[in-house]
């Protein structure tokens, strides 16, 4: 089953998203800040990363840039999750190296669609 890394500092968001993903059959591992996320992503074997962009320490933007620079994760699909919903966020996310982008609160079915598309389409 595909393995997803969820990088999210909010405990409730982590709990909720991971549970909903797991009941759809995904294997989910979690990191609580940017640095942990980068470390786990580089060292592990994930099929996709869900990255919250507002993280303590190094934020999602920086974490994504670092993942793109590391050879192990250059092509790893990353979906950015932002709470901003600001105009231009999508462009910013893609520019930082994200494969796709979604806003919080998560429309779960929409997110699921994006995950499925990235995983089946290949990176």
């Amino acid at each position: 089953m595909p393995k997803i890394l969820l990088v999210e500092d909010n405990e409730m968001n982590r709990d909720m998203l991971s549970r909903r993903l797991m009941r759809r059959g995904y294997e989910v591992e979690m990191a609580t800040d940017g640095l942990e996320g980068v470390t786990m992503a580089v060292a592990g074997t994930y099929d996709l990363v869900l990255m919250d962009m507002s993280l303590p320490g190094i934020d999602g933007w920086e974490a994504t840039r670092r993942l793109r620079q590391a050879p192990e994760t250059t092509t790893l699909p990353i979906i950015a999750l932002t709470a901003h919903a600001m105009a231009g966020d999508r462009e910013r996310a893609l520019e930082a190296g994200c494969s796709d982008y979604d806003t919080k609160p998560v429309e779960f079915d929409r997110l699921l669609g994006k995950i499925t598309a990235l995983l089946s389409g290949g990176a």
Binding site: M12, R20, S54
Partner: protein, 629 residues
């Protein structure tokens, strides 16, 4: 978080709990089996609907295109959110209250998460709390500072609280003036953020209260006011408000003003703390002067790691040292007093009524009544007399006429007496007047009831080391004050040193030896002052003398006090002179084994033939004597 747009921050704050509500509710819905859980499904669907309504309201009011929001808008937003919030809570509480088997193992737990998220959405209608229930909302990072937000407007209060907590402050809130005063009286607060316009008790009245009470006078107050109310702002600043924040809040300004005010307060607190510590140190200094300092009194201040702490530690050490020396001196003085007491008892006091110039009962110089002869010396005779004018005992020293035969020597002597009169010290016999009456030149001095060190040594042989040190210290002190005003004694010897019954040493004849200076030396044998045993080599050879000559004499006196013998002795004057110039005295300890090595060294150093090899100053001698353990 690196969000900088306040609207985006607030939007994020409000959407997060809604996000949780939707997420958990949807997840639970997926697990429900129909038709068994139809009612649960309906309730959860309503929950999701209510949450989505809330999201719409948030997105509408806090649109991504906006950078600021007014208080009115915010108040309206909260009012609009209150309704979906109420519905969500009602639904979820209903589900939680229902009996029967749980649809999923974590059903109740997840419902409680939804409830918690709903509770965080909007500050809920605050039920009437007891006055001052403004509890610290966050205790995290209390180190950054504690702020009290005073505003009657719940929305405004909440906005400020959230933002300040985000900055890391601990935030207390109060809904009115009286509550604010109560909180300030009870809690530790660093800065008060005070709304100007409030019902009942407005910001100005609160400010007035705070600034008129000593305990809160220095508490910084930042006024919150609409920008157009400049008159009110000016009035507040006149009354002592530190600063003001215009509404709507500009986050950068809010952050800067609070941080600056906090920094100023810290500095002021620090300054006050330093002043307090410094106050302790100066009080301790006064105590040291008054002899009331007890070592350890500065312990609290001495623990500080700054310069004041160091000052306190140094002070304490010095004071302890002084204390130790003082008690040592007292102990030594006690010994000297005992020696004096014993000597006095054995000395026969034979009163001589008549001297070469004056006789007992005679009225002299119009105001003195002669009592008796106290002693005779190379310079003249000393009488005890009564100053009838002042009704006080005095000593009168009549001077040998040949010493003052010409005007020049009289003028020089007057200069010397003028100088000597400047010495005021308990170890120096005070000189009063110089004059002439009936062809007799005379000096009047303080009368000291006591014996000379000569009498003491003749009676006791030698002194205990402690008593000798007490004498030496007092002698050094008297020389130190005299040398400081430029007076050299030139004739320190046991006959010139008086001891009163308390063991207090009084040095006589400061300045008088100057009279004989022109005639000092070997050529005019009749005018040799004192005993050559105490004269420095340079004095004997007629070279210029300075304060080090007095120090030689002090060494000779100390030597004799310790050993009972003059450092250099000879059967006649001529060989004595020769020996003073060439012979090294033996160490006192070879004669009296009790004498400690430090005293041995010191005395021998004082008796060095060349002035450069001696202790150079009387204050140094005093230091070294005090230091002898």
């Amino acid at each position: 978080m690196s969000l900088s747009n306040p609207v985006a921050e607030l939007r994020h704050d409000l959407r997060t709990p809604v996000n949780h509500i939707v997420g958990y509710a949807e997840m639970l819905l997926e697990d429900l089996e129909l038709p068994t859980h139809a009612s649960e499904k309906a309730a959860l669907e309503q929950t999701v609907t209510a949450a989505r309504q809330a999201l719409e309201v948030i997105s509408l009011v806090l649109a991504p295109t906006r950078n600021s929001v007014t208080v009115t808008e915010l108040t309206e937003l909260y009012a609009k959110l209150a309704e979906p919030q109420r519905r969500i809570i009602e639904m979820v509480e209903g589900l939680l209250g229902a009996t029967g088997e749980e649809p999923t193992p974590t059903f109740a737990e997840d419902l409680r998460r939804i409830l918690a998220a709903a509770g965080r959405l909007v500050p809920r209608e605050e039920p009437a709390k007891p006055v001052g229930a403004a509890e610290p909302i966050s205790t995290e990072d209390a180190g950054k500072g504690r702020l009290l937000v005073v505003d009657d407007e719940p929305g405004n209060r909440d906005l400020l609280r959230r933002r300040l907590e985000r900055e890391g402050y601990t935030v207390l809130t109060a809904a009115g003036g009286r509550e604010a005063l109560d909180v300030v009286g009870r809690e530790s607060v660093d800065i008060v953020l005070l709304d100007v316009l409030m019902p009942e008790m407005d910001g100005l009245a609160v400010l007035d209260h705070l600034k008129s009470a000593a305990a809160t006078r220095d508490l910084p107050v930042i006024m919150i006011s609409a920008l157009d109310d400049l008159a009110a702002i000016a009035r507040c600043i006149e009354q002592g408000a530190e600063d003001y924040l215009p509404k709507p809040f500009e986050p950068a300004i809010l952050r800067a003003r609070i941080a600056a005010t906090m920094q100023k307060k810290r500095w002021r607190d620090q300054e006050r703390e330093q002043l307090r510590a410094l106050g302790y140190v100066t009080a301790a200094a006064s105590a040291v002067e008054a002899g009331a300092y007890k070592p350890g009194l500065l312990a609290d201040v001495a623990r500080r790691t700054d310069a004041i702490g160091r000052l306190a530690r140094v002070m304490d050490r010095m004071a302890a040292h002084v204390h130790q020396r003082e008690s040592r001196l007292q102990e030594r003085l006690g010994r000297l007093r005992d020696e004096v007491g014993v000597a006095r008892a054995s000395i026969e006091t034979s009163e001589v009524a008549e001297g070469p110039n004056l006789r007992s009962g005679e009225r002299f110089a119009g105001r003195y009544e002669v009592v008796s002869v106290l002693g005779r010396g190379g310079m003249g005779t000393v009488y005890r007399a009564r100053d009838l004018e002042l009704d006080d005992d005095v000593a009168i020293k009549t001077l040998r006429p040949e010493l003052l035969s010409d005007e020049l020597s009289r003028e020089r002597f007057k200069d010397e007496i003028r100088l000597a009169r400047r010495i005021s010290h308990r170890n120096v016999v005070r000189t009063h007047d110089f004059g002439e009456s009936g062809g007799v030149w005379y000096l009047t001095m303080e009368y000291v009831e006591g014996i000379t060190v000569r009498d003491l040594l003749d009676s006791r042989g030698r002194l205990e080391v402690a008593a000798a040190l007490a004498l030496g210290m007092q002698l050094a002190e008297s020389l130190a004050v005299a040398h400081e005003v430029g007076v050299i004694h030139r004739d320190i010897k046991p006959q010139n040193l008086l001891l009163d019954p308390d063991g207090v040493l009084k040095v006589m004849d400061f300045g008088i030896a100057r009279l004989s200076e022109r005639s000092t030396g070997l050529t005019e044998a009749g005018l040799i002052i004192g005993t050559p045993a105490y004269m420095s080599p340079e004095q004997i050879t007629g070279e210029p003398v300075d304060q080090r000559s007095d120090l030689y004499a002090a060494g000779a006196v100390l030597y004799e006090c310790l050993t009972g013998r003059a450092p250099v002795d000879a059967p006649n004057m001529v060989s004595l002179f020769a020996r003073v110039l060439s012979e090294e005295p033996v160490a006192p300890s070879t004669l009296v084994p009790d004498v400690p090595p430090a005293v041995d060294d010191l005395v021998l150093q004082l008796l060095a033939k060349h002035p450069d090899d001696r202790v150079q100053y009387a204050v140094v001698l005093l230091e070294r004597l005090q230091a002898v353990g």
